[in-house]
Symmetry: none
Subunit: 249 residues, 2 copies
DNA sequence: TTTGATTTGTTCAAAAATAATCAAAATAAA
DNA sequence: TTTATTTTGATTATTTTTGAACAAATCAAA
């Protein structure tokens, strides 16, 4: 049995169990311990595993995989409903903006296989679409650790350079009277920039946010074209509709 | 039996089992081992299989993509040595560039507690510094999934807007004769941009890359100021020193 | 901290696999 | 048919891989 074959087996065991010891491998591979040690040595040098005393460990256990923790999955079902509808609006070839809202993030799993370009300031979105059919353009600027997103002058300017077919945005609150409101100026600025440079602006908004205002009101209702929500035909919805916003639910 | 017929059989066995050894094939094909070896040799040259000692393997088993985490684990000790030295050059208040090299990535753990600003095009670096004392500026542009980094025109332009105290860069290879070389044009472009906009340019380079040239040579030695390496006083090092590069090791 | 057991690195020799060279056999071309 | 070319197998030298032996390093328990 060649080194390459042993390597495959070792990797497989490591993938299943997470760790192995030399003696165990020597038995499984029907070879001597010294050979196993040599194999583990070269594999460690190639960065395929982490060598421990007496054995080896899977790298992912040592060096935690890169992943972004998402905001609590509050209203997960509602959000998924909204995202399904929003994703259906996208066609292959589209260029779309996606902001750093938690609802917008959930769209990722519904657009992985689309041949589109996504321009975003959200790190979790980038991470989620990294190995997908989607081509990603990341907006540059100051990283906001709390929101895991990019904001600031540079980011705004970056957005201004691009023209998108559609923008998919989140928001803190929305009402007919006061329009759009946010909890942070940074997010508000990004929302405005994206809306300004997109042909059609979709607002993804679960029913808990409808008719609510957050501390910073920053834009009139008119900057959005379509409101995607889970709320069925209610008074609030009809008010939005009357105010000239198209409703999808 | 002709080579073509044997080839078909070998490929079929390989497809079913994943690997074979020469002796086994010699029996099945009713021919000598030397002939089998010759067959495997030509087939490997044609890219039909991967030749191992004593046999062959299916290509799909061998060609597994190497993740960034894995790459950064190669020569880990050397890299950590280099990173410790590099990190010691940084003072609170500094603005620094960091590129998407795997050695540069390892610097993260040594600079987490510094009060500095890091400007980078590397997603792993951003992730690693997300919850640290470091303030991060992310370079925007097209995301390259393979390198987990941002490149392109927009990225280059972004860098041009900033002036940094220090740049910490990786490279594919470096030699006194040909200067800096890279495996991709994108990386080369980013290296050039960062070097151009930094007061002092540090090249982080473990000994395995010294004196080696990669396919794309893109810059003279003069664009770097300091070479940080693990290689102790050797001929190669002295040559670099004589060429005007400061050495840290 | 010391002790004892285990693991590892190193060196070396045996074994296995390969490369290189050359001649015989099979095949194709004139 | 003869001649040239390709393919194959045998032989030998070289390289790679493997396992054993032993000193050094490491770990765990007393």
């Amino acid at each position: 049995m060649s080194y390459q074959s042993r390597k495959q087996i070792i990797l497989k065991i490591l993938d299943e169990k997470g760790d192995v010891d030399v003696k165990e491998l020597a038995q499984v591979l029907e070879t001597s311990e010294i050979t196993v040690r040599r194999d583990l040595g070269t594999m460690a040098a190639d960065g395929l595993l982490y060598r421990t005393h007496g054995g080896a460990m899977r790298l992912s256990l040592v060096n935690q995989p890169i992943s972004f923790v998402q905001k609590s999955a509050v209203n997960a079902e509602k959000k998924d409903h909204i995202c399904r509808i929003a994703a259906a609006q996208i066609q292959d070839g589209d260029v779309i903006f996606m902001d750093c809202g938690s609802t917008v993030f959930r769209m990722c799993s519904f657009i992985r296989d689309k041949r589109i370009k996504v321009i975003t300031n959200s790190l979790p979105v980038v991470h989620e679409l990294l190995n997908s059919a989607v081509s990603v353009n990341l907006i540059g600027g100051e990283v906001d650790p709390e929101r895991q997103a990019v904001h600031g002058t540079m980011a705004t300017e970056h957005v201004r350079r691009y023209q998108a077919d559609k923008a998919f945005l989140g928001v803190g609150g929305i009402s007919v009277e006061k329009g759009l409101s946010a909890v942070s100026e940074k997010e508000a600025e990004m929302t405005l920039s994206m809306a300004a440079n997109a042909q059609v602006t979709y607002l993804l908004c679960d029913s808990s946010k409808l008719g609510k205002d957050k501390y910073l009101t920053f834009a009139p209702l008119s900057i959005i074209d379509v409101l995607v929500t889970d709320e069925q035909d209610s008074e609030v919805i009809q008010a939005f509709s009357k105010a000239g916003v198209q409703i999808l639910n």
